[in-house]
């Protein structure tokens, strides 16, 4: 328990330091977030056109609109970009210096993740606000704070899930020379299976069983679905259960693989 509290304290300190450091690049974050909402807006316009010209979708205009307006926010909030960097630290031997420090190398990556997201929020939320305002007449806004609270919980769980998946992929660098192809594959596969390209509700009928239960759904689509509607109370509970289950399972596997990797690690340059 002591180690856990110590790690938490380290993460808190490092996050604060990172925020101070990263806020130098304020302009860059704004431009990054501008790029981040381009795709959801393009998809939003396309699917609204399809609906308006008589396409028979299984979801209505309000669902599609709410989905894509919130999508940019959720993909940002649950994203992780560290796999490539972590793999590089393992391969180049930067891990060595962390092994004699009183906290894990991963603490640094958690701090980096949290601090960048904190800064991105300031750039992204006003942009989402503007898009929301433009489409305010066809947004689904859940009554009461309950759904929003679940939305927040689900985003946190989703972020943890993406982060542990990234640890898993990066840990393969303990045994492989180059994991960049794997990282790229993860990004491409996840973009479709997480619902970041097309809402999973629009996936064909034959793929339903697989699409609804695979882990990537819980990284982006599920939190958005909580607000965009359609989920009944029991589906919500089951979904949250699945999400929590995936987080626990992936965290356990990541922990095992990471520990095995540390044992197999032979520092470069030592």
């Amino acid at each position: 328990m002591n180690a856990f509290v110590r790690n938490l304290r380290v993460v808190r300190r490092m996050t604060a330091a990172d925020i101070a450091q990263q806020s130098v690049y304020r302009g860059a974050w704004i431009i990054f977030m501008l790029a981040n909402i381009c795709m959801p807006i393009i998809s939003l316009l396309i699917w609204r056109t399809a609906l308006a010209s008589g396409a028979q979708l299984p979801v209505d205009e309000r669902y599609v609109t709410t989905y894509f307006v919130l999508l940019g926010f959720v993909t940002m909030a649950t994203s992780s970009w560290m796999a490539g960097f972590l793999a590089q630290d393992i391969r180049m031997g930067k891990l060595s210096s962390w092994m004699i420090r009183p906290a894990s190398l991963l603490a640094g990556f958690v701090a980096n993740n949290l601090s960048e997201k904190f800064l991105k929020l300031f750039a992204l939320v006003p942009m989402i606000g503007v898009v929301w305002w433009i489409f305010r007449d066809s947004m689904n806004i859940p009554a009461g704070p309950g759904r929003w609270a679940l939305f927040a919980v689900s985003i946190v769980l989703g972020a943890m899930l993406v982060f542990t998946i990234d640890i898993l992929i990066a840990s393969l660098a303990f045994w492989m020379d180059d994991v960049s192809a794997l990282v790229q594959a993860r990004v491409i596969i996840a973009s479709v299976l997480s619902g970041a390209v097309v809402p999973l509700a629009l996936m064909p009928e034959w793929s339903r069983g697989f699409v609804d239960h695979q882990p990537f759904r819980y990284t982006v689509s599920f939190p958005v679905e909580i607000v965009a509607g359609q989920l009944t109370g029991s589906e919500l509970l089951a979904g949250l259960g699945f999400q929590l289950g995936y987080v626990v399972v992936f965290a356990a596997i990541a922990r095992l693989v990471w520990a095995a990797g540390i044992r197999a690690y032979s520092a470069v340059g030592a």
Binding site: A28, M39, A50, A55
Partner: protein, 273 residues
């Protein structure tokens, strides 16, 4: 006119010969990195396949949208793949380096050479492996045209090729202008992401967007000239007026970018000295 060239034409010819050297060097270089060639090919194919998913899903719910059938949109995805492949081959490797050129002072070395610095910065590096995406784009285009039962005549093919050319020039001009902002902003790497994300709009016909956005995608971010108009030309429902408009816009855009470059260069004060 420098003493190197007797006339303006000699200067252009010298640059064309230089570019041929760049290309030859890039081909030789690629043969040394065969794994890179293979991964580029594989990633390109997977991205092409996944990029077409929204289109296929969309046309699972309806037979046509604003007069566009599924086959025509597939042809358009093919043209999009050709255009993005060409940009990734000839333009992206250069404009992605713009920040380094300016912040590391590499531009100093370029300015000293007996070559147009803007030409050198925009076209020096070539990623030959990305040409595989142009090939797969041509394949998708042909599949789309066959499915749509279109057989364009030579005049229409000329129209389409010219339009793709103007689209490429226009998009390169926009991206260059965005990159040359580095003279004032220091770092422009994120601007490249904005450009690539906006490009995605080119996957869909122009009429799929609201009217205001259509204007934006025709004149401000002219991706319409690169994808929608060429496919409409192949379908035979586009006059030479649009082609002329595209050529005119391309000339104006090149002149404007030239101006931005000149103004930017005036503010450049080297990074190391």
């Amino acid at each position: 006119m420098s003493t190197l060239d007797r006339t303006w034409w000699h200067k252009q010819w010298r640059h064309a010969r230089l570019w041929r050297r760049f290309f030859a060097q890039a081909v030789v270089r690629e043969t040394h990195f065969r794994a890179h060639f293979l991964t580029t090919l594989l990633v390109g194919l997977v991205q092409l396949g996944l990029g077409i998913v929204p289109t296929l899903l969309l046309f699972g719910f309806t037979a046509e949208v604003h007069g566009w059938s599924r086959a025509e949109v597939i042809a358009l995805v093919g043209v999009f793949q050709i255009v993005t492949g060409l940009m990734a081959t000839f333009v992206a490797p250069n404009l992605n380096r713009m920040t380094t050129y300016l912040t590391e002072g590499e531009l100093d070395g370029v300015l000293l050479r007996p070559v147009s610095s803007q030409f050198y910065l925009t076209l020096r590096w070539i990623n030959v492996a990305e040409l595989t995406n142009v090939a797969s784009g041509i394949a998708v285009l042909v599949i789309g045209l066959v499915q749509a039962d279109l057989s364009p005549g030579p005049g229409q093919v000329v129209q389409a090729v010219v339009l793709v050319g103007t689209g490429l020039v226009l998009l390169t001009a926009v991206w260059s202008a965005m990159s040359f902002l580095a003279f004032w902003l220091q770092s422009v790497n994120p601007i490249g992401f904005v450009f690539l994300n906006l490009m995605e709009a080119g996957r869909y016909p122009l009429v799929f967007f609201p009217v205001a956005v259509r204007t934006f995608l025709t004149f401000a971010f002219p991706v319409a000239f690169a994808t929608t108009f060429p496919v409409r030309a192949l379908a035979g429902d586009l006059g030479w007026g649009t082609v002329a408009l595209g050529v005119g816009l391309a000339v104006v855009a090149m002149l404007l970018v030239r101006l931005v470059w000149r103004r930017g260069l005036l503010t450049y004060s080297s990074a190391s000295s």
